[in-house]
């Protein structure tokens, strides 16, 4: 496993209008590691995640200060192609959101957007992505059925396959298993372990156990600030700060 820094965040502030949602965040995310972002509701986890692929640009009245680099390049530089950035930094959301199309088309979507027309290449890539998302065996015989006929857990893995199809470097996951039952959750967690061989993963979760199980690094956010970050094992066995301890042991007022 390499130790290269993938994402580097320096003194990041983020504003929704006048409201400062993130304050002075500095944080390095390493290649092929899983980083978990934890913290109480409204502490800025999703906001931070969306800063990493500039999804916040889509919200009017927002403003960013500080620096975020991906592979040492400033993602907020004026010449950055945001569409290309979002190809490199894919995202999976809380609720599975497949398009009302076939399973095949859902996965092929991003490839088509990126100009892939060759049927054979499309087929190859769709299969590869579905395999990576551990869904292929379950859907290979009904690849042209509607994606909406899949179970919630399958839909979520389909969305992961869709994100993987465009061959991103990083996958952002915002509470990817919160709408799933324990078995589907287990599959997503197993998948994360597999995916980190090829991708860098940043996951937001409200489940301490999930963060503990899947991540290498855990970052605790509170009221827009990054309070503590460290090896997941250290954070969950002997965190340095009382605020972190209180949060992960469920003693938050």
């Amino acid at each position: 496993m390499t130790n290269t820094v993938k994402f580097s965040t320096r003194n990041l502030n983020f504003f929704y209008g006048d409201f400062k949602a993130l304050e002075d965040i500095s944080f390095d995310i390493k290649k092929n590691e899983v980083s978990a972002l934890i913290g109480p509701s409204g502490c800025g986890k999703s906001t931070y995640l969306r800063c990493l692929n500039r999804m916040n640009d889509l919200i009017p009245g927002t403003r960013v200060e500080g620096a975020v680099t991906l592979d040492n390049e400033d993602i907020y530089a004026p010449n950055v192609d945001v569409v290309n950035l979002r190809r490199r930094v894919g995202m999976v959301f809380q609720k599975p959101n497949p398009f009302p199309k076939t399973i095949f088309e859902n996965v092929a979507y991003g490839l088509r957007v990126n100009g892939v027309r060759d049927k054979k290449i499309l087929k190859q890539n769709v299969e590869k992505s579905l395999r990576q998302a551990a869904l292929w065996d379950e859907v290979k015989d009904r690849i042209n059925d509607s994606a909406l006929g899949l179970s919630g857990g399958q839909q979520q893995r389909l969305c992961i396959a869709r994100a993987l199809a465009v061959e991103p470097d990083v996958v952002l996951m915002d509470e990817p298993a919160s709408a799933l039952d324990p078995i589907a959750t287990q599959k997503i967690e197993d998948l994360i372990h597999e995916l980190k061989k090829n991708f860098t993963i940043i996951i937001v979760t409200h489940s301490m156990q999930q963060a503990a199980r899947v991540s290498d690094i855990t970052a605790f956010f509170y009221m827009g600030k990054l309070i503590e970050t460290g090896d997941t094992e250290t954070i969950f066995t002997r965190p340095a700060l009382k605020q972190t301890e209180d949060y992960i042991t469920g003693r938050f007022g």
């Binding site: 002997r238 949060y247 469920g250």
Partner: protein, 231 residues
Amino acid sequence: MSERHHFIKELEDLKLTILNMAALSRQALKNANTAYLERNDTLAQEVIDGDRKINALELEVDAKSLKLLALEQPMAKDLRVILGTMKISNELERIADQAVNIAERTLFLSQYPPLEPVASLERLMETTDQMIDLAINAFLDENADQAIKIRHMDDMADQYTLEILQAMILYMVKSTPATEKRILNTRRSIQTIIISRCLERAADLATNVGEHVAFIVKGINIKHQKVDFKE
């Protein structure tokens, strides 16, 4: 996020069980010592009979801990408290076993006239008791620094044990040549050596308790470190 009142209450309850067990184990050892010094068979028998209660408490601690681990998925210090508690209850149960062992020797020794008193034995009893007391209070106050203090006292306990052994060897060597009496003297001496060995064991176990407390409080294992640790 809820404040987990229920869980916190159960953790407190677990700690209370440990304190209860600690009080019983310490008292068992004190009673065994008194029974030996005063040649009191009734008290020795009480120690032997009372061990069942301490064994039951150890099982209770295990069951409660297992339940909390399974149902509450504790993290960080909560997790350390539960792991530490399980280990401490095991040490306490073994301290009580040492008390039983001393009580059994006492039942044998009290049938015969007393040996010459050995000052180191009473000092060893005193030191071991203090170490157990310190360890219990360290647990109660979550004081990791006591572990070092207890470990220093353990060095004293080892020294006293050695002195007792030397005194007994001397006694066996110089005792009367008449065979019958010599065998009896040797037997009494060996029983006394075993008692000192039990006390020395109990002191080790108290040292372990101090180390588990340090683990609970600081999250570090100082068990096999020979150097003192600092904040």
